[in-house]
Symmetry: C2
Subunit: 233 residues, 2 copies
DNA sequence: GTCTATACATCGATAGAC
DNA sequence: GTCTATCGATGTATAGAC
């Protein structure tokens, strides 16, 4: 399970009585939406509370009543994305190849929400600096994702569907790097790359039978939607 | 040839008389060094002229005597990196595989100059925003690099050393994405990845005989150093 | 060519009225 | 819960003395 920056805050928030929470919660959500936009467009350091407050139709003081500081607001934005992700991600599928196909689906999905891509793309680069308020968050996040995708490749290797010359963990690092790097190019020029196609081409070269249709593993027969892995970056 | 943002300025600078240029040129170089550091650590928007001036032991006004604005300083920093790169890069080698090996060497070299990696990593994400002063620079830069690496892969494909299923241009996009993404992870955690090894593993999977020693193509017999491709990102 | 002084904008955050 | 008012810090850039 991913450790977040504000487990304490989140717990306290959830413990609040429902009626009071519902009303003020709507405002909170609106603020978080606006904050995500602003941080995505300008990054954390260059993004201003003023801009967030303006977009949500509030004064800065009113905004700071809900979030006591700018960095607390950032943490809340990231925590909420994690909540969404946690509800959608399932990396512990027995079939590692299915997890990889999920990543391609994710890349497709991501192209429809450029704001979120911008957020993670900008923030992860910014948070490279050790004194950035989200530095620890991103270090832990990447660690977790590396482990998850590494596990998928381990199962693929164990089933003999990948060259034994390849280290599953290193291929996981490569996969994540590829997804991140594609996003930079895509944000700079939407026509420069089809992120999902590039990712699929990559998997096809490393994994035997990546394109094979799976009629056997029909665990999704309940008609539910494919799980979409969100906010990986 | 790469088009830069300040061809005009560069031309004007070069035209200056040598004696005058030498003295003030030293100060310029010192400023550019400091500016690269600051922009690398904090990005363009959060990096301050104050910090640059302090590191170079000057007042802000003195600094602005050499560069009329903050964005002009950034352009000068990028232009200088391009000058260095242009002197080191040779992507028009007849042997495409040799160019790829050059990229691995570059990845090794880059690990020794984290400041430059930080600069491009932070700036390229920041410049994703259309109103960023370096936006056009990075769009053009990536276009150029895609074309260059795409050409190398085309020659490799033409010589039959790559699967004909792969589109050389798309593999070029993938290669660049991989290099960029590796840098993010590496900056967040230096132990998370060996950038050069990951890149080599990638090429090995796509290119036949990537590891083969080339005794035939001994064009480097003059004892000169391997050309190092600098500042690709 | 470099400095001091300063103008002017923007920002995060607090205090206190309502 | 939201506002106005305000503080203090920080930032870019200019004017003018030396």
């Amino acid at each position: 399970m991913v450790r977040t920056m504000t487990d304490t805050n989140t717990a306290a928030r959830v413990r609040k009585p429902r009626g009071e929470y519902a009303k003020t919660g709507a405002k909170r959500e609106a603020i978080l939406d606006a904050a995500l936009e602003v941080f995505a467009e300008s990054g954390y350091r260059a993004g201003s509370l003023r801009e967030v407050a303006q977009r949500v139709g509030m004064s800065e003081a009113g905004l700071l009543h809900h979030f006591r500081s700018k960095s607390a607001l950032l943490q809340a934005v990231l925590d909420r994305r994690d909540d969404l992700s946690r509800a959608l991600v399932d990396f512990d599928l027995p079939d590692g190849v299915a997890s990889l196909r999920g990543l391609v689906t994710l890349a497709e999905h991501n192209a429809s929400i450029p704001g979120v891509i911008e957020l993670y793309c900008t923030l992860s680069a910014e948070a490279t600096s050790p004194d950035h308020p989200a530095h620890a968050y991103f270090v832990q996040r990447y660690e977790f994702v590396r482990t998850s995708i590494g596990g998928a490749f381990e199962r693929i290797a164990a089933s003999g569907r990948m060259s034994s010359d390849l280290d599953p963990h290193r291929v996981a690092v490569t996969t994540i790097a590829l997804m991140d790097g594609l996003q930079v190019q895509w944000l700079l020029d939407r026509d420069s790359t089809d992120m999902a196609a590039a990712l699929a081409e990559f998997f096809r070269a490393f994994v035997d039978g990546f394109d094979d249709v799976d009629e056997a593993g029909d665990t999704d027969a309940d008609g539910g939607e494919e799980p979409i892995l969100g906010g990986l970056s």
